[in-house]
Symmetry: C2
Subunit: 141 residues, 2 copies
């Protein structure tokens, strides 16, 4: 099985609200291949972001849903502390919720967390030890 992740799908309670958040609030490009209940965004880092009603995603995956968070976070790395502040500010203005104000981290960086309207947590981080090449993490072997 190749090391590939093509799509991250986030379950949404209100699909239209979630689409508005990512498309209009964050300004992310919705692909025209989106159809019906399935919305998919083109993401510069390669792995696409999809939005699908949470109850249908749960049913499709044959899992049980206790509600809430499930031990998964998404992160965007940026090049400066100021970009962390700006991104968190935009994410909150667009209707997200600040989970953790940006601040210095114990690992020597600077980061904060927000939740999208469905509670999915995102970290925005400046990590001086991670190289970013055209917005992509360049990890050593």
């Amino acid at each position: 099985m190749e090391p590939r992740i093509n799509i991250i799908t986030l379950g949404a309670k209100d699909l239209d609200r979630a689409i508005r958040y990512y498309r209009d609030g964050l300004g992310w490009p919705l692909s025209s291949i989106s159809a019906g209940d399935f919305a998919i965004f083109k993401i510069n880092t390669g792995t696409a972001l999809a939005i699908y009603p949470r109850h249908l995603l749960t049913k499709d995956a044959c899992v049980e849903d206790l509600g809430g968070y499930g031990g998964v976070t998404l992160a965007q790395n940026v090049l400066t502390r100021e970009e962390v502040d700006r991104a968190l500010s935009q994410a909150v203005s667009a209707g997200g919720r600040l989970l953790k104000a940006a601040g210095e981290t114990e690992w020597g960086g600077y980061s904060g967390y927000f939740a999208d309207p469905d509670g999915h947590p995102w970290e925005v981080a400046y990590n001086p030890f991670f190289e970013l090449l055209q917005g992509r993490l360049a990890l050593p072997d």
Copy 2:
């Protein structure tokens, strides 16, 4: 805020077990920048996969954890039905759990789901409507 997702972090109850699963079971490349409780894999599609103890991830994100699934799935798209079968078979042999046996889908493809040892659901899908270029989804604007 640019449309970028640099890292997907999966919370693990048993970090070593999760690392063994992805590194040895699925054969995915662990980056040497992994340190302490933080393991990160190089993923061909660009967005990296990290593993971190779930209770620490929860604390870091300042969220509440009810346990279980949280409305997020990851998907790998492949080029044929046979690749779906092979990937699911490997994922289960390596210690994952079959959530949904592979089969024809209502959207005209073929897919199945497995859970990793921590219960995180993955879909493996053949979708004839999605173009894959060198393993990456080529979505229309």
